[in-house]
Amino acid sequence: MTDTIFMVFAVMSIASAIAVVTWRNPVHCVLALIASFAGVAGLFYLLSAPFIAVMQIIIYAGAIIVLFLFVIMLLNLKKNEMGGDAPVQDRLFTVFLCVITVIILSIPVVATFTGTFYDQYKKTFPKPDANLGITETIGQEIFSAHALAFELISILIIAALIGAIYLAKKRQRG
């Protein structure tokens, strides 16, 4: 059961991610990106991290996608302004780099969950508590162990807000 659902979410996120980079119409790409984020959210849920899954939906599929769409509509590039396709060798090189990155990042993950390493790993890190990813646990952790980091996040948002509003807003003096 869980395996089937995992496959659905995994295929959904990867297929729509491929659609994001291959489709021609930028707005369609953004819609595909939403599907990809939703798939990733499903994967987080399967990993018993429902809070992260909801965050993924609210922040990524919700707010950030709106920003993406607005940028696309803000620029609203016509076909002839997009500058045409990149040369074939560039595109092949990009594919090559992607494959290399995937391989490099897969090695530790595969190595962790197969063979002797996995036995060691299981010994040192017992299977995490099923309650680890739920919102209550996260709330307890944030407000006790990471209280300072929590307050710093608000400062970080303020810095982002000031920088962004300053740069985006026309300012008339006085």
């Binding site: 707010a63 803000l74 609203n76 099923a130 919102t135 709330g139 407000f143 807000l161 509003i165 985006a168």
Partner: protein
């Protein structure tokens, strides 16, 4: 876990079925008169000038940006709301500091006119 998941799946299927059913019903029941004039935005009146795909104003972007940042604030307050009772006064103080700092952010964008439209 698995029962939760089952509810989620049922919910998702219901949502898809509702939305898809509405579309399908309107396709089935709605009248269809395909004429060129029917597809224009104004059946009578001005002929269309140009396309609807105009460049958006940067003001939309400012609003979306402020929305994103306060959205993140909300997301961080969800865990607080969930465990509010067991955290007690400490949690309340921490959340109030968090909100006060961000209230300054609201004051800032308000005074800088990022919420005005003109």
């Amino acid at each position: 876990m698995s029962s939760n998941l089952l509810f989620l799946i049922i919910y998702t299927l219901l949502a898809i079925a509702t939305a898809g059913g509405m579309l399908f019903a309107s396709y089935l029941l709605g009248p269809r008169r395909n004429r060129e004039l029917k597809d224009t935005p104004y059946e009578c009146g001005m002929p269309i000038l140009g396309t609807a795909r105009e460049r958006f104003s940067v003001k939309f972007y400012l609003t979306a940006l402020a929305f994103l940042l306060f959205d993140i604030e909300t997301v961080f307050l969800i865990p607080w709301a969930v465990v509010y009772k067991s955290l007690g006064v400490t949690g309340l103080v921490e959340a109030v500091i968090f909100i006060l700092i961000l209230a300054f952010g609201l004051y800032y964008i308000w005074e800088r006119g990022a919420l005005e439209w003109d």
